[in-house]
């Protein structure tokens, strides 16, 4: 494996992929950095030269910056909490032997295959529509007034939609983790007098901790960039404007590429802080 010849052959063969990936990543990154230091208004005079850190200062001091950050965090934490709690419970449920296990597992994973735009539209029009939605019918069936979900409880609706998409992912990872739990360990705990709940908290949950960290890590990276779900449901109204949506508005709605790029750089920094933070935790769990 590790002769000189095989190592150089490996390098040559890996080179195209590495170059492609580096280019793919570096070109947009450098362009974003470049634009973030320029005044660039495509419809109002185009590229107007250097502005130093003006864009960065303007982005942070704008009245919509901190609300956007808090919206992002609320969405992130809400979705993480729901997907992990429900994911653990679902994984334990799916681990039980039952009739039609294969079919049920595919059904559970199915939402992950639906495109974000499509699932958000399905939720918006089929479930949450205040007059024709399934939920409205359900509410009326029980004699309650139907809720206009996306304007009355916009964040809750958004969290529900995104959680529905990501729950299968969490369930899948946690299910594989739970399947690797040694049956004798559970039996030993049973003999040791641990009740069902104690066995869950003392044996199963610690066993799942690594898988849970991985789910948090991967989901966080994707959830920070949630866009389509907001775009097709509320369009950023009713306090659902996240950081990535704010950047989109700065670039496309305000036609200010410089300002948007500065926001993009903040998003990169934020994502990296979260990633480093989580890597540390994962590293600790990997002992």
């Amino acid at each position: 494996m590790a002769t000189k010849a095989s190592r150089s052959a490996a390098r040559v063969m890996m080179a195209p992929a590495v170059v492609l990936l580096l280019g793919w990543m570096l070109v947009p990154l450098i362009m974003t950095l470049w634009f973030s230091f320029r005044t660039y208004l495509p419809l109002r005079g185009g590229d107007q030269g250097w502005t130093g850190f003006d864009n960065y200062v303007r982005f942070v001091t704008s009245s919509s910056f901190w609300p956007a950050i808090s919206t992002t965090l609320v969405l992130l934490i809400g979705v993480l909490a729901i997907t992990i709690i429900c994911g653990v419970l679902l994984a334990i449920l799916l681990d039980q032997p039952m009739w039609g296990q294969g079919a049920v597992r595919i059904l559970v994973i199915a939402p992950f295959f639906v495109m974000p735009t499509v699932s958000a539209l399905v939720w918006k029009n089929m479930f949450m529509d205040p007059t024709n939605g399934l939920l409205a019918h359900l509410w009326r069936f029980f004699g309650a007034d139907s809720v206009s979900w996306l304007s009355d409880v916009p964040m809750l609706s958004l969290i529900m939609i995104v959680s529905w998409q990501w729950l299968p992912f969490a369930t899948l990872i946690l299910l594989t983790a739970i399947q690797s739990l040694d049956g004798e360990q559970m039996e030993a705990a049973e003999m040791d007098g641990a009740s069902v709940l104690s066995r869950f908290f003392y044996i199963a949950l610690p066993h799942l901790s690594r898988a849970i960290t991985i789910v948090i890590l991967i989901q966080t990276i994707f959830l920070l960039a949630i866009f389509a779900e907001i775009f097709v449901t509320t369009g950023g109204a009713f306090g659902t404007r996240t950081l990535s949506y704010l950047i989109f508005q700065r670039v496309l709605e305000s036609q200010n590429i410089g300002l948007g790029s500065a926001g993009g750089v903040y998003a990169i920094i934020l994502a990296n802080i979260v990633a480093i933070f989580l890597m540390r935790i994962v590293g600790k769990n990997l002992d």
């Binding site: 040694d182 004798e184 360990q185 039996e187 030993a188 705990a189 049973e190 003999m191 040791d192 007098g193 641990a194 009740s195 104690s198 003392y202 044996i203 610690p206 066993h207 901790s209 002992d287």
Partner: protein, 334 residues
């Protein structure tokens, strides 16, 4: 106290009955070994006693009280698993403390019992390590420690030594026997290794396909095997089982003679054959003899170093008082 009685116990998985009706009495303080080939139901039997499997019918009594429907934790039994089943995210101390923590024993008492168990098992220096940082033998001792602190009525061992290498296995075998002498608690030990059974047991239960073939002390089983199965299973190397003319001459269907009960000579004897493989152990030499006209191979044990080469003719004389005679149904005659 740890007297365990099984009455008419059966176990079926779906249609297949793995344990046909079975009765067994295990006295308080006894070291009982369940031994048999793999798939004979010995582990299932242990799990039935532990309560990890429900029995299909019959009664299990522990110290006279009906324990059939009592959950495993309440039976007062502790089990040591083949894979040790330690909790990997807890330190050795916490592993050992776990059953006491579940039972709500106060912290000072927990600490006292942990120290005591750790001292008895040479684990004092490892109490703050994780199971992953221990060797196989140490993990085994932690598993035993976790069982001891519960002060159970009986210990159940499910092939506890099969994951250890040969040298460690001999050492742990002695440690477990020593522990039994010290604690004088009932122990039930499952193994497929007849050497473990012979060396450790007060009472051996030989199982085949869920049936008890024979129950007795190691030497009882060695001297008076009830049938050809027990005869072939107990003892190492295996007893020679001879059928045909030679057996008929002794009024038996099958004639059994242990390798150590045959005298060898280069010149004269009752039987003769060609030496095949010779295994020199120093203290003993085992010869596998072919072309005897009795059975495919006759194994002979000669004390010390005896020199026969491959292909030499060897003469063998069985000690007549050590012959075992079995009938056509496999049962012992006389």
């Amino acid at each position: 106290m740890g007297q365990i009685t099984l009455e008419n116990v059966t176990k079926s998985f779906g249609e297949t009955q793995v344990i046909p009706p079975l009765d067994l009495d295990i006295q308080d303080g006894e070291f009982t070994v369940f031994v048999g080939p793999s798939g004979c139901g010995k582990s299932t039997l242990l799990r039935l006693i532990a309560g990890l499997e429900d029995i299909t019918s019959g009664t299990i009594r522990i110290d006279g009280t009906d324990a059939t429907d009592i959950p495993p934790a309440k039976r007062g039994l502790a089990m040591v698993f083949q894979s040790y089943a330690l909790y990997p995210h807890m330190s050795v101390r916490k592993n050992i403390a776990f059953p006491m923590r579940m039972a709500g024993i106060d912290a000072a008492e927990q600490e006292r019992r942990i120290e005591q168990a750790a001292a008895a098992l040479n684990l004092t220096d490892y109490l703050d390590r994780r199971p992953g940082q221990l060797s196989g033998g140490q993990r085994q001792r932690v598993a035993i420690g976790r069982a001891i602190v519960r002060e159970p009525a009986a210990f159940l061992f499910d092939e506890p030594l099969s994951n250890l290498d040969a040298a460690l296995r001999v050492g742990m075998r002695l440690e477990i026997s020593e522990l039994h002498k010290r604690l004088a608690t009932t122990m039930i030990y499952v193994t497929h290794d007849q050497v473990e059974a012979m060396t450790m047991a007060d009472k051996i239960v030989v199982l085949r396909a869920g049936h008890i073939e024979q129950v007795g002390s190691p030497l009882e089983l060695y001297r008076n095997p009830r049938n050809t199965f027990v005869a072939g299973f107990i003892g190492s190397p295996k007893m020679n089982l001879i059928e045909g003319e030679e057996a008929a001459r002794n009024d038996a269907h099958t004639l059994g003679i242990r390798p150590e009960h045959i005298d060898v000579s280069a010149t004269e004897g009752a039987w003769h054959g060609k030496v095949g493989v010779a295994e020199h152990l120093g203290s003993d030499t085992f010869f596998h003899v072919h072309e005897t006209g009795l059975a495919e191979t006759i194994t002979v044990r000669a004390p010390g170093e005896v020199n026969f080469r491959h292909g030499d003719t060897i003469y063998m004389t069985p000690r007549s008082e050590q012959l075992h005679r079995f009938g056509a149904d496999g049962l012992r005659i006389g």
